[in-house]
Symmetry: C2
Subunit: 425 residues, 2 copies
């Protein structure tokens, strides 16, 4: 088949009629497939089942400093968990605050604390009138929602292969005192799968914010989530770079073991400077005495150290890579037709599919009507608005390989139909 | 020994000199005892150790509706956990939102949501100028702190044996639209151990708040925590009473399994009307995808139903009652001297000790210098200020019986010294 743009109007109509015929047949199959969220599949969860029975004796539950993990106390987490996370993230244990089963909640808490109580003696954001957050797009819908619910104004920043448009970031952050933060997924970004270049990380660390209460929200969610362990992406350590740049307090870094172990039953952490840590501990002590230290110990016993964890993550990769490959193989046909491009990350959980402008919503709708649920078109943009209406987030992890093949067939078919409808006009 | 008030000044001085001599001997023992917080002792925690290895197969982790507890999702908790908590608290599963390991965090979230986003379309509390909370005193310091950090004005309400002074509560709530909430521990209250009478509960349900966004914060923390299972306190069901009174949305009830299982690794719940539940779910969905469902299933498998749970709680009582008895036995001497009174609850975790006015701080200080840490004097009052300086919270659960005897000896000695110092003037 030729590139669709090279077809005559008549050829387009013929092709469209034929595709609609196939589409009706697919619809009759009454598929029920879901590629909407970045959920690990059951076989990935099975990898972590042994951790549920790792705590057998009282000895397993007494921390090296004598803390009984079963009782109240130890707000910032047991020392073993802090050390493990510090080793993974290449920081110091005193930089680590261990949270509950959701790094999202830690991000929310950091935004909410700034909004309610302020940062470093500045007025709380709720008392400052307009407050803005920079949102590299496409990005993670749950990040954007955290700031949206507080009425914070969300500003789109284009994402490139080496990270957000840093000229624009610098222009905003260094000049506009109402800009208080930026959402970053620096490695295998959600949804493009891009990793920030060294220059991008250094430019982040070198920011000179107009607002004293500006912070970088650095969600290092996919730090260990390589698809190809022989060629992993490597990014600079933001904590080190900020230290070198003389701005140690500039960043809140987040991580969790959700997509390493059991997503609903893991541990999370915020990593930051001792100065920020003091404020965090003071503020968070009003809402909790301690997070689940038994589960912290469970994770420590299971993962042990970065080497063991890497071995474990290779097993995840072995299950995930064929799924990504399946999507890429299916999409190849779209590239030949000149109606889509997509990303080919070396890690993370997502692929971005870019249709012709104005075709994303229609594609997602066609998929839905044929029984394939995708993330809503526009979801990866603040307020759910994709200015180009061209971005679709593909989450290949959850369905079986077989289901994924079926689903991709529907996606490809839907992109073709939506594109032809658009081209015909 | 006679009542101290009947001693001549000379007798008082003699007695004081003698007590100080004993006190110096005790100090030389360099004790390190802690009765500051309501922490279960290690032998109580041991009761729940089997729960850590109850989840063995995948079957154990699939909810009856097919939910895989290991993965993301199910914001309000698995149906089994909702049913268990509903059975315990005599409500319906749809009234139950299951949280993380801390009911304190759920309380904080409810206050924070009202402060940031408002209740039922009312202006957020942060935009309403003065906002007040009623605080029955003495009460739970962590409750008061939640509201204090938001700058909410805390109003003392005297506690009686049958609950808060309801004349005063009605006067405030029904007339003052800046009064937005009240902190209640309705059963075995912290720290007095009082349980609300039926009339008190009915008067709560019959409140006609001047503020549409007023809520009762009903922390039923000690619902199952009887010391004497043959003579448990019984309180009316606030959810039922509010329903009957035509105000189903008036209350947020809280509970947790913290002091039933492992305090740092348990589950919590907020119980409320379907209307309130909708708002809660909408607001909390911005910060978390789901709480730890694996741990929810762990609790369900272990506790099974209210009957099993009652058997388990009797084992706790068997360990706790002798500790309470030890304190009461030791305090008897103080009663004879006319310098203190104390509460004798049939459940919960605390005893209130009331010294002569102006003696509590000094008593706690004397204890501390002799190596016995008590909850800070005044801690049970908003802003840490006990207007009478007479209340001391005694938490007998954590020390061993032997340590408790030693600690009580120091408390008794310290009360005597502080009282004589005061009486001599």
């Amino acid at each position: 088949m030729k590139n669709y743009r090279d077809l005559t109007p008549e050829e387009m109509k013929q092709e469209l009629a034929q595709l609609r015929h196939v589409y009706d047949q697919v619809k009759a199959e009454k598929l029920e497939l879901n590629m909407a969220r970045g959920k690990p599949a059951a076989d990935q969860l099975d990898l972590s089942m042994p951790m549920l029975n790792d705590l057998n004796t009282l000895d397993d539950l007494i921390s090296e400093d004598g803390t009984d993990c079963r009782n109240y106390g130890t707000l910032d987490g047991i020392i073993e968990a802090k050390k493990l996370i510090a080793d993974l993230m290449e920081v110091k244990p005193e930089n680590v605050f261990v949270g509950g089963n959701a790094s999202l909640q830690l991000m929310y808490i950091m935004v909410a604390n700034a909004w309610c109580f302020g940062i470093d003696g500045c007025q709380p954001w709720c008392r400052q009138g307009t407050v803005k957050f920079l949102c590299p797009v496409p990005g993670y819908d749950r990040h954007f929602r955290i700031t949206e619910v507080f009425g914070i104004q969300l500003v789109n920043i284009p994402m490139h292969e080496d990270g957000p448009d840093m000229d624009l970031v610098e222009q905003y952050v260094n000049n506009d005192p109402t800009v208080k933060g930026i959402w970053c997924v620096p490695k295998y970004s959600n949804p493009d799968g891009y990793s920030y270049s060294d220059e991008t990380v250094r430019r982040f660390a070198a920011l000179k914010p107009a607002a004293k209460d500006f912070r970088i929200f650095w969600d290092n969610a996919y730090f260990f989530h390589h698809l190809d362990f022989d060629h992993p992406d490597v990014i600079l350590n933001i904590m080190d770079e900020c230290q070198k740049a003389g701005s140690p307090d500039l960043v809140y870094e987040f991580m969790s073991t959700s997509k390493m172990a059991l997503p609903g039953a893991s541990i999370s952490a915020v990593i930051t400077s001792p100065h920020n840590m003091d404020q965090l501990k003071h503020q968070i002590s009003a809402q909790i005495i301690s997070f689940d230290k038994v589960n912290q110990m469970r994770q420590v016993k299971f993962f042990k150290d970065p080497q063991h964890l890497a071995e474990h993550m290779k097993k995840h990769a072995a299950l995930l890579l064929p799924k990504f490959q399946t999507v890429w193989d299916a999409f190849k046909e779209l590239g030949d037709l000149g109606i889509a491009r997509w990303t080919t990350p070396r890690g993370g959980y997502f692929i971005s599919l870019y249709t012709l402008p104005g075709c994303a919503k229609r594609t997602v709708q066609l998929c839905k009507e044929a029984g394939v649920t995708l993330t809503g078109a526009g979801a990866a943009f603040p307020y759910g608005i994709d200015p180009e209406d061209s971005h679709i987030r593909i989450a290949p992890s959850y369905p079986s390989l077989d289901d994924l093949k079926k689903a991709c067939r529907v996606v490809v078919l839907s992109v073709k139909i939506a594109s032809l409808e658009k081209l015909i006009g």
